[in-house]
């Protein structure tokens, strides 16, 4: 008992340390180098000015401060929140659908968001318009899925999965159609690039938007994390254990959808994170959602920051995030499957 508690504690300490190291490191990395010393001084100075004090004597260049405040801060924060959101949403959905192969897109949130963005680009909306349209269509797609599932007479889980597949393919067909009629000079490349996922053009407002909505979704999931365990057993068992399954399921769907739609509307489509990160956390910390949700948040956020660091430093032009996560995620997933089948033969 104590051994276990100790190893979990050690695991979490390492995870938190890694998260903080990646967080700080991500500010330093990039085409414009900012020293760690400058980083601390600028942050301290910003804090002091925020509370009306004079701030530190400026020993850093103006460019360092601009890059830090306007470029890197929003980007790193958004990456951390998006990774945390997708992983926590994936972990919750996997429990709710009693299937470890489920990703945050199961109810159509990201395909809906992709369609919303493509539509906004087609209509020539500005950057804010794209984000809002994408977010609303993400929520709308999940709402549609839930409405169809409610109207059907199949059992709740099966009808939701089927309705999710249907709504997802409807919206991806819609996106294809928009690509077909879009102007091939500007709109089509913009849509294509958006769909591949990127944080290159992120601004302070986006970071604030995504962090507030992700916090609104993640905090209830963290508070309810023990109860999410009970959704992994059959419906009758869960009810007999004394929980209101339909209300809990609704709460999980609302939280996970809010986070996924907010994340995708800012970053574009980023696959694999929501599927692979919870798997890894289960390997290290077990199935229990008391540890699975917090570890998914930390590992997912850290992983996303690393991927985004790679996206902006690996080559001279930005690599889309969706491409990178697939390059990393797919081999890792194959490894997980092979490992799992080896385990079963023991």
């Amino acid at each position: 008992m104590d051994d276990r508690a100790h190893s979990y504690k050690l695991g979490f300490s390492l995870l938190i340390a890694a998260f903080v190291a990646i967080f700080l490191g991500s500010f330093v990395l990039g085409r414009y180098a900012i020293g760690l010393g400058d980083l601390f001084k600028i942050s301290a100075s910003l804090f002091m000015r925020l509370f009306g004090a004079a701030g530190l004597r400026q020993t850093w260049t103006e460019a360092s401060e601009t890059v830090f405040v306007n470029v890197r801060l929003p980007r790193v924060i958004a990456a951390a929140f998006i990774g945390a959101a997708l992983s926590a949403a994936g972990a919750s959905y996997q429990g709710m659908f009693r299937n470890p192969m489920v990703s945050p897109d199961i109810l159509g949130a990201s395909t809906g968001a992709g369609f919303g963005a493509a539509l906004a680009i087609l209509l020539g909306l500005n950057y804010i318009g794209i984000t809002i349209s994408s977010f609303c269509f993400g929520l709308g797609a999940v709402f549609l899925t839930c409405a169809i599932s409610r109207a059907s007479r199949l059992n709740a889980t099966l009808s939701m999965v089927l309705a999710g597949i249907m709504v997802g393919s409807l919206f991806s067909a819609g996106t294809s159609f928009i690509k077909l009629i879009a102007d091939t000079q500007e709109q089509l490349p913009a849509i294509t690039y958006w769909l591949m996922g990127s944080l290159a053009s992120i601004k302070g407002g986006d970071a604030l938007f995504v962090s507030l909505l992700v916090a609104a979704g993640i905090i209830p999931l963290l508070l309810l994390r023990w109860r999410i365990n009970l959704l992994t057993v059959s419906e009758d068992e869960a009810k007999s254990l004394g929980i209101n399954t339909s209300r809990l399921r609704l709460a999980v769907i609302i939280c996970a959808t809010l986070m996924t739609a907010a994340a995708v509307s800012v970053s574009g489509m980023i696959g694999w994170v929501g599927l692979v990160i919870p798997h890894f956390c289960r390997l290290i910390f077990g199935c229990d959602y008391r540890r699975l949700i917090p570890s998914s948040i930390l590992l997912g956020g850290g992983f996303m920051m690393v991927v985004d660091d790679l996206a902006r430093t690996a080559t001279t032009s930005e690599i889309p995030l969706g491409v990178l996560t697939a390059f990393v995620g797919a081999p890792v997933f194959v490894w997980l499957i092979l490992r799992r089948s080896a385990d079963n033969e023991d």
Partner: protein, 258 residues
Amino acid sequence: MRIEARNIEFSYKGNKVLSGLDFSADSGDVVAVLGPNGVGKSTLFRCMLGFLKPQKGAVLIDGVDIRKMSSAEAARRIAYIPQSVSPVFNYTVLDTVLMGVTNRLGLFQSPRPKDVAKAVDVLNSLGIAHLKHRGCGQISGGERQLALLARALVQEAGVLIMDEPTSNLDYGNSWRVMERISALAGGGYTVFFSTHDPNQAFLHAGRVLVIKEGKVLAFGTPRETLTEELLSDLYNINVSLRSVPYGGGSITVSIPHG
């Protein structure tokens, strides 16, 4: 705890599944529920647990209608033990058992140290405490069934409902699980278990509830209730009963033949 089914009638899509079911059981009763496939045993259990609302009649636990309780209140009175199947997520035995305390936790609360101590006590009493950190996917079906029983016991409910508790177990594990179940009567529990084996009723149950076509065909002690005629009629095969010496006394066994 006393559980009473009062004149239950339940229809599904216009088909009558249960009609006029009337019976009751008290603390210390272990009731075997017998009846052919598709006769409404599972529906009856789901009505007793409050998952289904009978069109007529009611299920009362210590005089209170189960449908008028919240799910947490119901969970403190009646527990459900499902068949032992391999789980999707490999929770440890201890975590599985801890799920049973949820009805006494606040919405945002996790199990407390005293809940863990309670779970370990129950595991000890069932003789499977050494498995507490093993995954439920890595233990035998019989051990897993005992873990599910432990989960129901930490719920502190007086009535236990078991849907074919031995259906996925081998001969030895079935007997071991059934021994634990019949021992619960001494602890003041009211136990209902469904089975397809009349011998389990003779060996492990104090009373037997026989259901045919959604009605109570007979309810009483196994020896008086389960006659050759009744069993032959119930399962549509010829059944012979023989009395054999067993543990100082004698016991009836049922032998089917064409």
